[in-house]
Amino acid sequence: MPENFLEVKDIFKAYGSGDSKQEVLKGTDFTVTKGEFCVLLGPSGSGKSTLLNIIGGIDNADSGYISIDGEKLEDMNEKALTNYRRKHLGYVFQLYNLIPNLNVKENIEVGAYLSDNPLEIDDLLNTLGLYEHRYKLPNQLSGGQQQRTSIGRAIVKNPNILLCDEPTGALDYNTSKEILGLIENVNQRYGNTIIMVTHNEAISHMADHTIKLRDGVVRKNIINENKISAAELDW
């Protein structure tokens, strides 16, 4: 039986108050094992991004808890949370969020700085296909190149968990597949646990584990026995 690495227990989260109060997560429960590629799937408004932010320690749950490798996030103060993100997490966003005044290599160095034992940056640039673009600023790159840089920044510190929030949401079909292939490759090569938020059901076919959310509740929790590679995906 594989060990539970991430435990999401009975998470409630609401925004606003009174009449305008909107419950986003209504008792979400699931677990993820170490090294697993997990997809949080759901339509817009299902609470998947909110859940990802709570897992990432940049938002708080109203009740319930998140436990990573036995440590509960709710027990952590701000400094411990920062340390948690610093040591264990990598983040990939839909719109990349690169630092605009740093070039590709420097953006990856932003991640490398946080690790005592970062990956070799030039090797990573080659792996990401960015070596020849390493001195370009983000606004001189295509969307796919920016997302690859963003992935590079996230994985350079070799995090335990890679959180990806709609990483292909702003990309075309081919580039999306290329990026998914890259994430798959990272998962296989470095063994990071990957939690990816998406509304694209096709992507769930490449995952080990799919959690379907709707209206803040887990509707389906599927372990994928017959996953396919990113290259085989089609939508």
Partner: protein, 778 residues
């Protein structure tokens, strides 16, 4: 239909009220102060100019050694002038109940009813020989009140009122002094009986008006030059050049045309100069604020790029968007102008008036509506904000709708970013932040320069005065400089002294004819061979002179230059070649050996003017002494400057620190706002606050410290120029002197202001939520 975008304006104002309020406050106070200054200055200037007619201000005055005979007066009046007696006695003034009070000299005139008429500000004119009215400014300075009894030339007199005399609006005892002296010098009016009752010697001063009023300053000068030459000749011949009348012969000992009379013009000129300075300060500050607005709006445009792209794609024109983004700076500027002008006409005007009344003896004035003040403090600021912002914002809006939609607002399409040296990552990161925010940091630098110029004045003026005070005695040729009325005693023998340190010298007052200050008095000194007090060699060519360091600095003279000076009362000129600069920074003088002096000015070989001595000369009869100049006389000037301005400088310094805090706070806020998403992202990635502060705050700190150091140099250059400009319209010279420790103080004051900003900025960075980075995702 009105543009719906207008609805955003009040919301934007509310959302960013702290920033806009700070900008509004700075502009309101500046506009208010300048508006108040312009209103006060114009009103008082008008009052002073009207005074020429109202108080019948003289066209000139002259002083004769003896009372002029009727024949001489008739001859002088034949030159096209009307002469009025304006005799005075200059005597000691003491406060009976304040033995420790400043000792003063008072110049007592008879009540005036024809020329240079007085303005009674409080109380009533004297009606008996024991009553006196004195200058209001002097009374304020030394604490004399109406009803007080003072001792004037030993006689007790009751002060019945305070006056202002139009020819002593600035209390200059001697027109050649750098600064007036309303502390130890006073003017007063008494009845004829009161005047006759005073024992002091009468000075035979005559004021006159031209029968044909000169049309302009050039005409005044031409008439004056012609007149003084005739006056000199007529006096020397007793009023009859063809048949000199030896009985009525006289000697001109003083002549001062109205246009050179600082007592009449200093205050009026000061109003003009202060106006120019205030207007310049306003323009510079509004320009700095305009850039702050422009950077703010540019950042907003970048932030709202996709919205702008959508609006442009939907059919909104560039002009409509330009007007929208311009509306905020214009509204804030207009509001500041309205409130500033309202404060200017009330609070600030009174403050400025108080400041002038604390320096000058001015008659009453009436506040006048001033369209010039309104235009300069409303139209000019709005125009500056309009021009700078329309240039910056329209350049920012020039991109195509597609580029806005893609958030691609870079003008230059470099294929690669600028390569940086292989420094540590944080160092390179900081440099990138600097490069990205260069316009913000440059405006920060300009703001610091602006504040530093004001600070330099606030710190430098007291430092300059202190320096002058501590060196005043060194600026004297000797501790005592005696000027004799006549070098022969009543027996016809040379006046001598047994004091071993005493040494004879010669001097003559000449005037400059060109350079930065025409008609500046330059004293030509003749010195003895092996002089104890003037340490110069006797072997020079006949036309070679040493010039004092003060003269050389003010007129930018160098070794080998030729200078031309003219006689005080005639048009005779002398050419001299500068042999070298003599280390005397506090006086305006040239030096030559006595034999050259006598030859140049056609004196006998044994001619002399008085004595230089380091000890008091007790063996010379007071009747023979015209004046004794000591270090205390030099200090009068500094004390007056200290009194007029020194007390304000501390407050001014504090105001500068507040201004520095506000400007730096605004600019760093803009820089942090521009980097909010990046900072938020760094937090998401796991950067600690200390690391983020080390990137953003440390960079700003480095910029502030470097800017403060450079700004110290810039402010020094600016102040030196400004000081030169001010001194060029005055007699004399002393340097604007700021010590290293004062520069250090200025830098520390800016850094203290920055520490306040730093704490607030750290708080601001700490409060940036991590969700900021996620907002851009949505």
């Amino acid at each position: 239909m009105k543009s719906p975008l207008k609805k955003r304006v009040p919301r934007e104002l509310l959302a960013e009220w702290k920033k806009y309020f700070a900008l509004f406050a700075i502009m309101t106070v500046t506009i208010g102060f300048v508006s108040g200054m312009l209103v006060a200055n114009n009103s008082m200037e008008k009052s002073c100019n009207d005074g020429f007619e109202k108080y019948n201000i003289e066209d000139s005055h002259f002083i004769l050694k003896e009372e002029a005979s009727d024949k001489l007066i008739d001859a002088i009046e034949d030159e096209g002038v009307t002469v009025y007696k304006q005799y005075y006695k200059q005597v000691k003034e003491r406060q009976i109940d304040k033995p420790k009070a400043e000792k003063s000299e008072v110049r007592v005139f008879k009540l005036r009813d024809k020329i240079n008429k007085s303005s009674l500000l409080k109380g009533e004119y004297p009606s008996t020989k024991d009553e006196i009215v004195i200058d209001r400014m002097h009374a304020d300075n030394v604490g004399i009140k109406i009803g007080d009894t003072i001792k004037v030339d030993g006689a007790k007199m009751r002060v019945t009122g305070f006056i202002a005399l139009p020819d002593y609006s600035a209390l200059y005892e001697d027109n050649s002094e750098i600064v007036f002296n309303a502390i130890s010098f006073d003017v007063a009016l008494v009845t004829n009986a009161g005047f006759n009752n005073l024992k002091g010697a009468t000075v035979y001063e005559y004021a006159f008006d031209y029968d044909e009023t000169p049309i302009d300053k050039a005409d005044k000068k031409e008439k004056s030059d012609d007149f003084v030459e005739r006056l000199y000749k007529l006096s020397a011949t007793g009023g009859d050049e063809d048949n000199p009348d030896f009985e009525n012969m006289n000697e001109v000992t003083g002549y001062l045309p109205e246009y050179l009379n600082q007592g009449i013009h200093f205050a009026i000129d000061d109003f003009g100069n202060d106006k120019a300075l205030g207007e310049t300060l306003l323009i510079v500050l509004i320009a700095v604020i305009s850039f702050i607005f422009a950077i703010t709006e540019s950042n907003t445009i970048v932030k709202e790029a996709s919205v702008i792209g959508t609006l442009r794609a939907s059919g909104y024109t560039k002009g409509e968007l330009l007007r929208h983004y311009m509306s905020m700076p214009i509204i804030v500027t207009l509001l500041a102008a309205i409130v500033g002008n309202a404060l200017g006409y009330t609070f600030f005007k009174n403050s400025v008036v108080d400041m002038y009344y604390n320096s000058y003896s001015l008659a009453t004035y009436e506040t006048l509506w001033n369209s010039d003040a309104f235009i300069k403090t409303t139209v000019y600021p709005v125009l500056i904000v309009l021009i700078i912002n329309s240039l910056v914002i329209s350049s920012k809006l020039q991109f195509s709708p597609l580029k806005f939609l893609r958030r691609d607002l870079t003008k230059t399409k470099r294929s690669k970013a600028i390569r940086l040296p292989r420094w540590k990552f944080f160092k390179r990161f900081r440099l990138r932040i600097l490069m990205q925010n260069i316009s913000g940091y440059f405006t920060l630098f300009l703001g610091i320069c602006f504040v530093m110029i004001l600070l330099n004045f606030a710190v430098g003026l007291p430092a300059t005065l202190d320096n002058y005070k501590s060196h005043a005695k060194e600026y004297m040729l000797s501790d005592y400089q005696y000027v004799l009325k006549n070098t022969l005693d009543k027996n016809g023998d040379d006046i001598t002294t047994d004091e071993s340190s005493a040494e004879k010298y010669s001097s003559r007052v000449l005037l400059t004819i060109d350079g930065p200050h025409v008609d500046e008095e330059i004293t030509a000194y003749g010195f003895n061979k092996n002089s104890k007090y003037i340490d110069l060699t006797y072997n020079v060519k006949s036309n070679e002179v040493w010039v004092s360091e003060g003269y050389a600095k003010k007129f930018s003279l160098n070794k080998g230059d030729t200078i031309t000076l003219k006689e005080n009362y005639t048009n005779d000129t002398y050419d001299f070649v500068v042999k070298d600069i003599y280390n005397q920074p506090g006086i305006m003088a040239i030096f030559m050996p006595n034999n050259h002096f006598n030859k140049t000015f056609d004196y006998e070989n044994d001619h002399f003017t008085g004595f230089l001595s380091n000890n008091k000369l007790d063996d010379i009869d007071e009747d023979y002494i015209l004046s004794i100049i000591t270090g205390d006389d030099i200090l009068k000037m500094v004390n007056q400057l200290d009194h007029s301005m020194g007390s304000y400088m501390d407050y001014f310094g504090y105001a500068c620190i507040v201004l520095a805090v506000l400007l730096m706070l605004l600019l760093t806020k803009i820089i942090i706002e521009k980097n909010t998403v990046s900072i938020s992202m760094l937090k998401v990635l796991g950067y600690f606050s200390a690391e983020i502060n080390s990137l953003y705050i440390r960079l700003t700190t480095i910029v502030v410290v470097i800017s403060a150091l450079i700004a110290t140099y810039v402010s020094d250059l600016a102040l030196q120029q400004l000081w030169r400009h001010v001194l060029n319209r005055l007699n004399g010279w002393f340097e604007f002197y700021v010590e290293w420790k004062d520069y250090g103080r200025m830098v520390i004051m800016v850094i203290i202001a920055y520490l306040v900003v730093l704490v607030l900025d750290m708080r601001r960075i700490r409060r940036i939520p991590m969700t900021e980075a996620l907002k851009s995702v949505e």
